[in-house]
Each structure stands twice: as structure tokens, then as C-alpha cells.
């Protein structure tokens, strides 16, 4: 019996008068990897930002761990510990060292012991090959290194779900691979549940159990990963895939 982590039902989102998400419904089971694909402006970022309360939605239902979450949920700070998010622009805190970036959540939000949290942070840094950079400030890191720290910062809170919004889009091509390897390992080794927005079609094809194809704020199709890339159901998705391959 698969355990449902997140479910949304008929979610609608407006910016002012402008509707950007229409009746979005899907669910995600523990350990599943969902890739959110679609053209620019289709609402991918908006959708995953709704899932951890960075954007509010106007109607629809959101369930996390079986519990309903209202859009203005006061408990978002609590919930966000369980929903890690990594952004395209890394967004490390420039005033804190790498280690302090990672420890902020565990120490201040989760009130964990410094020694224990530090030990774990260092282990995570080692896992992404940055154990030597704990005391360094973000500006001294390359883009790829920053993004690895950002992933570690999210993992340090022991999330049950990870959201990735185009985390390789700002990176030099030779940095991309390392980040994608880390994400794949998270899925394969830790069985992490993930929603990934990406333009890396090969990566999505390899890692995603399921593809959500979004256009103009609507889910046009939800298709198992391999199948989507071999024969997508909708004409629009096929055109999109065509446009993405060179």
C-alpha cells in the first residue's frame, strides 16, 4: 500500500485578475519522483511554490501527509521543514558561512543540539564533496558548489518531500551533471520523494516515475516517465518535446 505524501485537488491560482493555474489535481506517493515539464510561463514555478506556501492559491485543496492545508495556513513554518525547496538562483544567505547556512534551520527552527546538527551537516557536505568548504562564505563558491550547499541546506531539515525548481538552469554546462547526480542519488539511495521542474529532458526521462505536462496553467497530461518520452498522449506535449531536442 503506497503512502500518499501530497495531494492537491482542483487548485486554482490567480495573480490579481490573471488566472495562472486551472483546476490542478494530482497526488504523489512516498518515494515517487515527479517531473513537472512545460513551456516557459506555463506555471511550473507557481505550482511548486504553492506546495510550500510561498504562493497562496485561491481555491482548491492541498493535503500534506493526509492533513488538509489551507492557503493561509499559520503552520507553514512548521510544515516547510518537511518540504525542502531548492531554487534556480541558489539563494544562500550571503551573510552566513556555508555551515551556518546549513545550520540555521536545524538550530533555530528545529532547536536541535549544535554538536549533533553540525556533525550531520558536515556529513552531508562530505556527501556532496564540499567538506572542505564549511567555513567558506557563499560568494567564494562557484554556482555548482552553491547549488550543492543549497541542496544540503534543505536536506538538513530531514524533509519528506523535496521541490526542485530548475536548479541547474543557471549553471555552466559542466556543473549541471554533478547536481543531477546528487538528485538522482537522493532518489535511488534515500528513496526521497521529489517534484522536479527541469528543462533537462534526458534527466527527466531517466529519473521521473511520472511526468506532469503543464501548459497555460493546466495539466494537459500525467504520464509515466518512459512512456511520456516515447509516445506522449497529447499533440502539444509531443511538439514540446520536439522543440526541446536538437
Amino acid at each position: 500500500m503506497p503512502e500518499q505524501i501530497l495531494k492537491i485537488d482542483k487548485l486554482n491560482k490567480y495573480y490579481g485578475q490573471h488566472q495562472v493555474l486551472y483546476d490542478i489535481s494530482f497526488e504523489i506517493q512516498k518515494g515517487e519522483v515527479v517531473a513537472l515539464l512545460g513551456p516557459s510561463g506555463s506555471g511550473k514555478s507557481t505550482l511548486i511554490r504553492c506546495l510550500n506556501g510561498l504562493e497562496q492559491f485561491q481555491s482548491g485543496f492541498l493535503f500534506f501527509g493526509g492533513k488538509q492545508i489551507t492557503p493561509q495556513e499559520k503552520n507553514w513554518p512548521q510544515l516547510r521543514q518537511k518540504i525542502g525547496m531548492v531554487f534556480q538562483s541558489y539563494d544562500l544567505f550571503p551573510n552566513l558561512s556555508v555551515l551556518d547556512n546549513i545550520l540555521l534551520g536545524p538550530l533555530k527552527v528545529q532547536k536541535r543540539q549544535r554538536a549533533e546538527a553540525t556533525a550531520e551537516a558536515l556529513k552531508l557536505l562530505q556527501r556532496v564533496g564540499l567538506e572542505k568548504y564549511a567555513e567558506v562564505y557563499p560568494r567564494q563558491l562557484s554556482g555548482g558548489q552553491k547549488q550543492r550547499v543549497a541542496i544540503v541546506r534543505a536536506l538538513a531539515l530531514h524533509p519528506e518531500l523535496m521541490l526542485f525548481d530548475e536548479v541547474t538552469a543557471s549553471l555552466d554546462p559542466e556543473m549541471v551533471r554533478g547536481i543531477l547526480e546528487i538528485i538522482r542519488e537522493l532518489s535511488e539511495r534515500d528513496n526521497m520523494t521529489m517534484i522536479i521542474v527541469t528543462h533537462e529532458m534526458n534527466f527527466a526521462a531517466q529519473i521521473a516515475d511520472r511526468i506532469l505536462f503543464l501548459e497555460e496553467g493546466r495539466i494537459l497530461e500525467q504520464t509515466p516517465g518512459k512512456e511520456f518520452f516515447q509516445h506522449a498522449k497529447t499533440q502539444r506535449a509531443r511538439e514540446f518535446l520536439e522543440s526541446m531536442t536538437f
Partner: protein
Amino acid sequence: MDLSIMQQAIPQFVKAFELTLWLSFVGILGALLVGVCCSLLQYFKVPFLGKVASVYVELFRNTPLLIQLFFLYYAFPVIGIKLPAQVCGIIGLAFLGGSYMAEGFTGGFNGVSQSQLDAGKAIGLNKFQLARYVVFPQGFTLSVPALAANVIFLIKETSIFSVIAIPELTNTALDLVGLYYRSNEYLFMLVLAYAIILIPLSIILTILERKVRYGSFGN
């Protein structure tokens, strides 16, 4: 210019110089305190008090120090509050400066990017933690140039204290001019005295600005 006239006036200028420094120092300290408090009230949108702070900031930023001093020194005694001139000066400077400093801090806090706020929220920081660990440290750094400009501005504003007869630099110089009818010498000394305060200070502040900028930013 007559050097001996200038020499004779040195003790008086030194006294005035010290007084100007002292009043500026206390007034600016007060201004920073008032400014921080107001901008915190505004940042957290504290009911009622946040609004009061906003009205105060607008009101004081848009009235001349001269008028504020007249109020404190000449109008307040009418309602039974009589304060020594120097106290009026410090209060005036603190509240005029407070409104500018509040704007400076608020500008810095607002300058922290949305993506930094998102990143902070995403790791579960609540409103106060976000302020404490993300917005204030970064926003303060961003506000340093404005605060530094305010410090210079406020020191220059102390010259207005002369109208309520505080013997600071400007008042002293004008007194001497009136007494001895030698304006060139005394005005030259006046300019020199301000330059001695302001030029090194502005160099120090520029260095400080650069320090904090490179200290925390520049991805």
C-alpha cells in the same frame, strides 16, 4: 586675514568644537535609537504604533529643524515644559535624525530581495526568525550608506542650534563676528572647524561602507 586675531579666538573655537561634537554625538545616538525603534514598529506592522511611527517619520522629515527647535524652545514653555537649550538641541536632532534614520533602516530592510525571503521561509523560519537572521543583518548592511549620509547631514544641522543660543561652532563664530567685526577670520575658522570634523569622518564612513559591502555581499 589677521593671524593674531585667529590665534586669540582658538580657545573659544576649541570649546565650541567640543560642544558641537558632543551634541552631534548624543543627538545622532538618539537618532539611531529612535530610527531603529520606528523602523522596527513599521517592519512588524505593530498595530497602532506602526502607524504612529509612519506619521512621525513623514512629519519630521518634512519640517525644518529650525521650526522644530522653535517649538521645543519657545512654544513648549508656554505649556509649562521648559527645557535647557542644549537639551532642546539634542532632542531636536534626535527626532529629526530619527525620522531620517528610520527611513534609512526601512530602505535597507526593503532592499533585501524576495528570493532571500523565500529561501528563509523555505527552511521554516517564522516571521521573527526571518527578520532576525535574514532581513536585519542583510538590510542593515544595505542601509549603511544612507545612515552614513544622515550622520554627515545631522552634524551640519547642528549649526542651526545657533538660533537658540547654544554656543556651538556657528553660534560662536557669529558672536565673534558681531563683537569684533572681523568676518573673514572667524568664518574661515568656522569652515575649517567643520572640515576638521567632516572630512575625516566622511572618509571613515566611506571605508566602513566598503567594508560592510564586501563583508557580506557580492555573490
